[in-house]
């Protein structure tokens, strides 16, 4: 991390700790969105940070993963990742509205293909005023009032189905799919960073708990079985962060990367973004599972925060794809120059 990135980390760490955190996540149920915190975040200019410098942004993907991890560490109920990624697409097509830049209007990505004119289970579906979606080889922009009502869900996210009608076609053919793929890879990278944040906090929360909680006259964290269950996690968390950072590095580079599977040399952005999502996702499942378990019955009770992390890890790690399906997409990338397909 360079000095600028250290500064980004400090600023956003403070922001998310002070303005969001588990308290905000709880208070945002059932919508899954904290409007007050979003307005505060908008005052900092964060919703526009991903666009180009002349438009008032300038953050690289490597900068944005820092913000996303800090947001994840506080399970911030804010659509910052979707908004930033979508804004970047809108800017490329010269469609960036001032209200989107400032965060007055919320922009989101329909991460899965549209079917029969409906976008199902859109991550920001309940709150997004602008949605970008891919329908076959057409990129669509839906400008519509959001329902402001979520489908009840596992991760308390602002999920809703959205009917895509009267949407503008904003790009077609190869341009459309390239723009969408780029946005989706950025989204995967940043969601992975958010999941690293969830993992990091789950470890911290649980380590504090096992130091504090006494059974048999000792802190439960002094028992080797508990220690060893926790000791696996920091390496997985660090590995996930390294992979996410590498994906962002690949995404920021001007030149295309390479895939050399048999030599374990991989610098292709799409491949690394997909790897990140699978690995950061499953790492977060594992860390929150251990974390909840070592809380004993309290981990299962609503009162303790670990269950909030547990459920969000599951929601974000599979809202795009089941990990197995994501692995099959990844295999298509890895094996495209090898084998029978």
């Amino acid at each position: 991390m360079n000095a600028d990135q250290e500064a980004i980390k400090d600023v956003f760490s403070s922001f998310f700790v002070e303005q969001t955190g588990p308290e905000s996540a709880r208070n945002s149920i059932p919508l899954g969105f904290d409007l007050k915190a979003w307005k505060r975040l908008s005052e900092t200019g964060a919703p526009g940070m991903g666009v180009s410098p002349p438009a008032g942004g300038g953050a690289s993907l490597s900068d944005l993963v820092i913000v996303a991890e800090e947001a994840g560490s506080q399970i911030a109920p804010l659509p910052i990742i979707d908004h930033v990624v979508t804004s970047r697409v809108l800017e490329k097509l010269d469609l960036l509205e001032e209200e989107v830049l400032t965060g007055t209007l919320i922009a989101g990505l329909v991460v899965r293909p549209v079917k029969n004119g409906v976008a199902k289970s859109v991550p920001t579906g309940a709150i997004a005023n602008r949605l970008i979606a891919l329908n076959e080889d057409k990129l669509l922009l839906l400008a519509d009032e959001p329902p402001n009502k979520s489908l009840p869900n596992h991760g308390d996210l602002p999920i809703a189905h959205r009917v895509i009608k009267n949407a503008d076609v904003i790009a077609e053919g190869r341009e459309a799919t390239e723009l969408f793929d780029r946005a989706l890879n950025e989204w995967k990278t940043l969601i992975s960073a958010f999941l690293v944040g969830i993992t990091r906090s789950s470890i911290e929360i649980t380590v504090e708990y096992v130091k504090d909680r006494h059974q048999f006259g000792k802190p439960i964290g002094s028992f080797q079985s508990v220690q060893h269950g926790l000791a696996d996690l920091p390496g997985l968390c660090d590995g996930a962060r390294l992979l996410v950072n590498k994906a962002a590095w690949a995404g920021d580079k001007e030149i295309a990367g390479a895939i050399n599977l048999t030599d374990n040399e991989i610098s292709d952005f799409a491949t690394l973004a997909s790897m990140s999502l699978v690995f950061a996702g499953e790492t977060s499942l594992h860390a929150t599972d251990r974390g909840l378990h070592y809380h004993g019955g309290y981990g299962f009770s609503e009162e303790y925060d670990i269950q909030l992390f547990y459920r969000r890890a599951r929601a974000w790690s599979q809202i795009l794809n089941s990990p197995s399906e994501e692995c099959l997409d990844l295999a298509d990338l890895l094996l495209k120059d090898i084998g029978a397909e």
Partner: protein, 386 residues
Amino acid sequence: MDFELSEKAIDFRSQVKKFIENNLTSEIISNMHETGTFNDKSFNEALASEGLLAGAVPGYGDRDPVELYLLFNELEKAGAPYDGLAVTMLVAGIINAVGTEFHHEEILKKLLTGKHNCCLGYSEPDYGSDVASITTKAEKVGDKWIINGQKMWTTMAHESDWVLLLTRTNSEVPKHKGMTMFLVPMATPGIEIQPVPTMASERTNATFYDNVEVEDQWRLGEIDDGWSVMGIALALERGVMGGTNPAVPLLKHVLNWAETTPSKNESLMINNNLMRERIARTAIINQVGQLLTLRAAWIAATGGMPGVEGSMAKIYASEEYQKVVGWFQQMAGAEGLLSFGAEDAAAFGWIDYDARHAPVTTIYGGTSEINRNNIAERHLGLPRSR
């Protein structure tokens, strides 16, 4: 951490890759598996004459730990015999750090020619993870030391000119404070080597020390301060001397197999969805193993001591390797059980070999449990549990 290697490191890596392409023959690889000795002195000598060996000594010369990592990583990915080399270069690094002029002249210089090897004499039949409890005794008699005892897992003893031997020199003090390290010439009378065959192809040894007499000049470090020398050895290793990408050559063998082997429905295995999912997962594991190792090297290169980071890389790479080979062995069914040389052996027997080899990787060089203790205490700040 920079994901872009420096120009110097990239040059070094291409030099290593070129060397491997020109020097690593299939005879060398099949010979290592037939003999069980993962060491090839003529290969090591060729590395030395190419000027690559001086860069393989941790802390020595102008090579930084990232290049050290690259050398061993390339050897590992290529399936080259590097086990003997890694231990030998580790000992070279220890001599460089704490050795006397005599050790430099008499041992280090010879190690750098590739013609000589060292082995490690730490573990004993009754003391493995609890290595500070060892009982092999060294007694000062006049100006000489008399050594008696037994060591286990002295891999490469039969190839080596010296053994780095941890001995008990004082039983009156706490166990960590009564050990002394020696570099004992293997030709000294009273040393006996017994081979210990293993379930994989590699051979290890038990070594016996019966009134072995050595002069004081073979002592490495201060008397009763052998534990500090051990500490240096562990710090130098830093998880960068191979062992963190074992599933890379495995995946290469598996891909060759999957591309040529029909599955039950007559399509090739490479088109089987479970196979493809597992290939993708293995590719992720290989990347993460590489990144965790590179981070440890990078911390070392910038003056840090990546003890905990080395533990993380070691646990991850070895345990995932064992998991991955289990997947592929099961997918290969009965042919996944067939060994080198057997007709129809899946991946020419590599799957069987890796499945035999994988369990030891979570044991040697510090068991997963010892590494978890290290992370729990030193990284998570949990109380000592034993």
